[in-house]
């Protein structure tokens, strides 16, 4: 999860910046090696990432191939940076000449359920990583009707980030154990920090959540869910979810003048990166936001980017909602799939096994995407050790491993993107007060359920 673009806005804009015809074009301009699929030689596609990210994966695959007695392997890096990665991948699958392995930044369920990727269950049964070494909530992002279409090899793990320096300045304990345990506590604490100057929000405590990708986590924190995998039903307008949105809206009204636009004009209070629409800097890193929810990928960027930042941040578990019972976490995984039509499915699966259990150690050390398989003994990211010391880095690594174990199921709908857009639309309506939470969620529910049923109808 080396790319920060994944978190930058309320709408999943990543990848959609390219024209719709790009995929066809991309298929024409791809290097010959991208298709030259040969038995005994592995071919891997990556959707993007930095040069370092590419280097790591190229090295891991080459090392594995040499060790396994396979022919020279090929890694195609950054395909998605110039085109629509998913389209190129679908094109290659349709043409019967896909890579042996592909990394995905979108859930494999939608395409896997249509037969684009191989089900891994049989191979998994005979492998050294049994299925129960994966957190169930995470694995469900690859599963449909009992079949597993990919592996969430690493993941950005969501947790609460907070600014210890701001906490101390207010005389509040910065200890992780003392972080608010409920939404009500978090809301009460938030008020301590929030300062308006006219219509400009100068500093704030915490924000009512409104990033669409993370709503499944907040719903789970209130004892609900957006999509009920077991019963193949959307539950967007459940009582817990309506209660949740009413709570957030009430909070916005009380503390933030009831106006998300005023908040957004004052800075980026949603995540840890400059906002791609307004260009405004991240309030958290500017010391203007005491705490927020973020994925673990921010660890790799917080000291590195040319954005002003403070030194001492820490992580804590999500607080629970009024109807919630236990804290949960969520992830944005790096999925790996074996496309249908791979010429080397067993070798590809062996590589995924190797990558999930051994390769990820090196990966996490250099780029802090959290290994998800429970067998992995992760070593803390070097950049974090250098900056904050081994003790803090190991503590964070252990904390993230704990969080990865309590991941709530998400990314698991066969109409994932459709549902996500419906949730995004409902959130917009709720927060701009175009409709009440009950109305908006009901509308999203009806549309998503209809689309789900249409697809499932076969």
């Amino acid at each position: 999860m080396a790319l920060k673009t994944k978190t930058t806005s309320a709408i999943s804009r990543r990848g959609f910046l390219r024209g719709s015809a790009a995929a066809t074009g991309a298929l024409m301009v791809l290097p010959r090696g991208a298709f030259a699929q040969t038995e005994g030689q592995l071919l891997l596609w990556l959707p993007g990432g930095s040069d370092l990210f590419c280097q790591i994966h190229t090295g891991l695959l080459e090392g594995f191939s040499a060790g396994a007695g396979l022919g020279p392997a090929t890694t195609v890096c950054g395909l998605g940076q110039d085109t629509e990665f998913t389209l190129a991948l679908i094109g290659s699958i349709t043409a019967g000449n896909p890579p042996d392995i592909s990394m995905l930044w979108d859930s494999p369920v939608a395409l896997g359920s249509q037969g684009a990727f191989m089900a891994l269950d049989e191979m998994m049964a005979g492998s050294k990583i049994s299925i129960d070494t994966w957190p169930a909530g995470l694995l469900s992002s690859c599963q449909f009707k009992g079949q597993t279409f990919g592996l969430p090899v690493t993941a950005g793990v969501y947790s609460m980030w907070y600014n210890e320096e701001m906490f101390e300045a207010k005389g509040i304990s910065p200890a992780r154990a003392d972080f608010p345990k409920t939404w009500a506590d978090m809301r009460a604490l938030s008020k301590e920090f929030t300062v308006w100057e006219g219509d400009k929000l100068v500093t704030a405590g915490f924000m009512p959540p409104r990033v669409p990708e993370t709503m499944a986590i907040w719903s789970a924190l209130n004892g609900g869910m957006l999509y009920d995998e077991a019963n193949l039903r959307y539950t967007i307008d459940s009582e817990q979810n309506i209660e949740m949105m009413n709570f957030f809206l009430d909070w916005l009204n009380e503390e933030y003048k009831g106006d998300v636009n005023l908040v957004d004009r004052s800075g980026n209070f949603l995540d840890g990166y400059p906002n791609s629409t307004t260009g405004l800097g991240p309030a958290f890193r500017e010391g203007r936001l005491a705490g927020m929810q973020s994925g673990s990928w921010l660890m790799g960027d917080i000291y590195g980017d040319p954005v002003p930042t403070f030194e001492r941040w820490n992580l804590a578990a999500h607080p629970t909602g009024p109807s919630g019972t236990a804290s949960v976490s969520g992830t944005w995984p790096n999925w790996f799939v074996i496309p249908a039509g791979s010429k080397n499915p067993q070798a590809a699966f062996d590589y995924l096994t190797y990558l999930s259990t051994e390769g990820v150690v090196e990966w996490y050390q250099q780029i802090p995407d959290v290994p998800t398989n429970s067998q992995v003994q992760a070593k803390s990211p070097q950049s974090l050790v250098d900056r904050r010391g081994a003790a803090f880095a190991d503590d964070v690594t252990a904390f993230l491993a704990e969080q990865a174990a309590v991941v709530t199921p998400m990314w698991n709908s066969p109409v994932q993107s459709f549902g996500a857009d419906q949730v995004a639309r409902a959130l917009e309506k709720i927060y701009t007060k175009a409709a009440t939470p009950a109305e908006s969620l009901a509308e999203a529910q009806v549309a998503s359920q209809a689309e789900l049923e249409r697809v499932l109808a076969g």
Binding site: I11, F16, T432
Partner: protein, 315 residues
């Protein structure tokens, strides 16, 4: 056919059969020369078009075999709020942006047509935005329009205006996209400029001698003489405006924020096909768009007979 005729004349017996055979040989060569383009047209335009019509009648989740479902996709459109909303947005966009863009491009062309020392430079400068990728241009616009920090609103506020929060206010977001799409008007301007420079100087001077009002000349002489360029820009402009995509998806994402004000028809097609993997529905949407645009173009061409003046004709 000149060669064919020559052979017939110079040959010993100018039989019609020989002439015809020579003509047929030439025709064959002509077809051979045109063949690469005919194959290209068939492969990249006609076959995909027919395939689109077919896929529009199937359920096709991008992988696996399409399943024939008749007109279900078209029926689904009828009850799809996004279809109606995006059609409404797109029609509004086309109705405003095309005339506005044409008027601005024409004004610019009229200015550029006055010979000045720097007109070559201006011509280049106004053409440059066209070369900028729409995505990059959109990002720049978003930054320019940021309330509080973007220069547009800072300037407007300095003059005492109360500018909107362009990209978050549902009433202004579509206008921001309209502005953004009008900005690269270099091509339209060049087309108009070509037309203006084609007007003989003495005709223009005769008009100046006939009336002292510049707008008389513009309305009665200049505009009628560049009606072919107006027609061209109008048809191309309408076709392109119905396909507005990059600017809309960069600003509004796949949900057309704010409040679906920027949800354009092409975005709905795009997300249906490549985000929701509902390719059959996307094909049905595309088919409707195809026929709407075709119909509009035919309608314009039909009316064009009465308002477009072509130099070649001697009516």
């Amino acid at each position: 056919m000149a060669a064919g005729t020559q052979i017939a004349v110079s040959g010993a017996s100018p039989s019609p059969r020989r002439r015809r055979r020579a003509g047929r040989g030439e025709a064959r060569a002509g077809v051979l020369f045109a063949l690469p383009w005919m194959i290209g047209l068939a492969t990249f335009t006609i076959i995909p078009l027919i395939l689109t019509f077919y896929i529009a009648q199937t359920k096709f989740q991008i992988v696996g075999p399409p399943k024939y479902i008749g007109l279900e996709n078209y029926e689904a459109m009828w009850t799809d709020a996004a279809f109606w909303r995006s059609a409404q947005n797109t029609l509004f966009f086309a109705a405003v942006s095309v005339p506005l863009k044409l008027a601005l491009a024409l004004g610019l062309a009229l200015l550029l047509n006055r010979a000045t020392a720097l007109s070559g430079l201006y011509r280049t400068v106004f053409y440059l935005p066209f070369l900028m990728p729409a995505v990059a241009g959109s990002v720049v616009f978003m930054l320019l329009l940021t309330p509080g920090a973007g220069p547009v609103n800072i300037i407007l506020e300095a003059f005492g205006f109360n500018p909107p929060d362009w990209l978050r206010d549902p009433d202004s977001a579509l206008w921001a996209i309209i502005m953004l799409s009008i900005w690269p008007l270099g091509v339209e301007t060049l087309v108009f400029l070509g037309g203006l420079q084609n007007i003989p100087r003495d005709v223009s001077e005769a008009a100046e001698l006939d009336s002292p009002e510049p707008w008389h000349k513009l309305w009665w002489i200049t505009l009628p003489l560049i009606t072919p360029m107006i027609l061209f820009n109008l048809v191309i402009g309408i076709i392109y405006s119905f396909q507005i995509f990059a600017q809309a998806i960069v600003i509004g994402g796949t949900t057309g924020t704010p409040a679906e004000a920027t949800l354009m028809y092409m975005v709905v097609i795009y997300r249906a096909a490549f985000r929701y993997f509902n390719v059959g529905y996307a094909a049905a949407l595309a088919t409707v768009l195809f026929f709407v645009v075709l119909l509009l173009a035919l309608l314009i061409f039909r009316t064009a007979r009465s308002w477009v003046y072509y130099e070649g004709e001697s009516r």
